[in-house]
Structures are given as C-alpha cells and as structure tokens.
C-alpha cells in the first residue's frame, strides 16, 4: 500500500550508479527531497526524464534533491539492470542520484506502483506531495506543474497547493 500523506519517509540504503551507497540519512540536511520511482525502459519515464534533470538543475542551489530509484526486476527486464542504469545516466547526463533497489524492499516500503511516481518530503521528511511530475507526458501540453509547485511551496515553508495526484506511467516490475 502506498504511504499516506504526512508519513515519515521510510529509510533506505541503496547503491547508486556513482559507486556509492546512499541512505535517507545522507539527505538529512536537504529541505526538499523528492524520491522518484524510475527505470530505463519505460517510455513515460523517458518522456519525463528531461524535466527531472531540469528540476534538479533549477532548484539544486536552493537545497532541493531528486533521488531516482529503480526497483524493476532486471531478470525479466534486463533493460533495467544496474549496468544499464549506469549507461542510461551517462547517456542522458543525469544530475541526480540514481539508486538500485534490487531486492525491492524499498518499493515495498513506499508502495510505489508506477514509473515515474513522485514522493516529495519536507525538511522533517514528512510526505507532502505524492503523484505525477506534472499533468502531461508531452511537455508542450503541460498546464499543471505539480512537483515544481510543491517544491516551491516546501522551500518557502508552505504546504503544496496540490498534495496528491494520480501517477501515470509504466507499472513497477515486481519479482514473481
């Protein structure tokens, strides 16, 4: 089940494509933390990827961090293997941490179902926004920028104007 709004961020400690382990505690000083379920093979993720990069670029100086997590079963979806993650990140120029949840324990804890699916936490690691990045996979057709608005609100010490939307994307590929 997906964690509810106001829930504390479930802990994680996962390997990143940079060769380092990354735990929730490593982001303790971050005022706004977005944990985004992602992967390589999904066209929805690929359609939104540049917007993830742009958000990190635009808000990084103000303390925002985006952390992408891939939990897909790489045995059945080799496009989402750890090695493929490294290649994808390099090819696309990811400016955010990209972590591998191989045993799927973290996706189980958060209850994410889709890629991409956003969980935005405030400075106290309380869930303040859950759902889609914005309202259209076609960037030219976006009218509501949910995550951007939520980041702005959190950085200003306010509640996001919209706290929950339905994520649209591929299913997380769970192991049988």
């Amino acid at each position: 089940m997906t964690i509810a709004l106001a829930t504390q961020a479930p802990p994680f400690d996962l390997p990143g494509i940079d060769g380092q382990q990354h735990s929730l505690d490593d982001y303790a000083d971050v005022p706004a933390l977005a944990v985004v379920w992602s992967c390589n093979h999904c066209p929805y993720v690929q359609a939104w990827e540049s917007r993830m990069i742009e958000l990190q670029r635009e808000y990084g100086d103000r303390g925002f961090r985006l952390v992408a997590v891939n939990s897909n079963d790489a045995d059945n979806y080799p496009e989402d293997s750890f090695e493929a993650m490294k290649a994808r990140a390099q090819q696309q120029g990811f400016n955010f941490d990209y972590l591998y949840d191989e045993d799927q324990s973290v996706v189980q804890a958060y209850g994410a179902e889709r890629t991409p699916e956003v969980f935005l936490f405030d400075s106290e690691r309380r869930l303040v926004y859950h759902g889609a990045i914005d309202d259209s996979r076609e960037e030219s057709e976006v009218t509501e920028r949910y995550l951007r608005d939520a980041i702005e609100a959190v950085l200003a010490g306010d509640e996001p104007p919209v706290s929950e939307t339905a994520p649209v994307g591929c299913s997380v590929k769970r192991k049988a």
């Binding site: 093979h41 999904c42 066209p43 929805y44 359609a47 979806y77 996979r137 960037e139 590929k173």
Partner: protein, 100 residues
C-alpha cells in the same frame, strides 16, 4: 483491411492508441477489421513477437517497423514522435502512413 491491435493490460497507453487508430480510420473513411488481443504472458509475447504494448499491425506490417524487432516482453513500447520525443503510443503520422 485487417488490423491486429495487441496490448498488455499493465501498460496504460493502449486505450489512447486504440482511440487514435479509430480516429485515423474514420478520417480516412476506411473500413477495417480490427482484431484486438490482450497479451497476458511472456510466452504469449514471444509467440506473437510482441515487442511491447501497444503493437499495431496493418495487413501484418508493424506501424513502426523500426521497433518491430524489439525483444518480446510485457512492457510499454517506445515510439518516437515526429518531433523526436518519446511516446508510449504511435504517432498519428505513423498510423496514417501505415494505413495509406
């Protein structure tokens, strides 16, 4: 005209693709027999040479020949739209070309 429309329930793009196909057929006044088939297992995906959802074939020819030989799998299929972007559904232009 025979059209195969193959989809996997786990990818949410197929209703949009089915609607777009219907629109393009109607605009062109084409009378087509559409066989809609759900692909439910990896074995079925391999048997049907299903490189992702949705896959549309007109008279046996994939509307996106470049992606037709992709690995058979239960996943969303990647299409390229005319602007170079990525989409989980074929473009109107791809469907029009396949139906012409």
């Amino acid at each position: 005209m025979d059209i195969e429309f193959l989809y996997w329930e786990g990818c949410p793009s197929y209703p949009e693709a089915r609607q777009l196909l219907g629109e393009v057929l109607a605009e062109r006044g084409l009378d087509a027999k559409i066989e809609v088939r759900e692909v439910k297992s990896q074995a079925e995906a391999e048997l049907l040479r299903f490189p992702g959802s949705p896959t549309i074939r007109v008279e046996g020819h994939d509307v996106d020949p470049d992606g037709a030989s992709g690995r058979p799998a239960l996943m969303c299929r990647i299409y390229r739209n005319p602007g170079g972007g990525v989409s989980p559904v074929p473009s109107r232009e791809q469907l029009e070309a396949a139906l012409s």
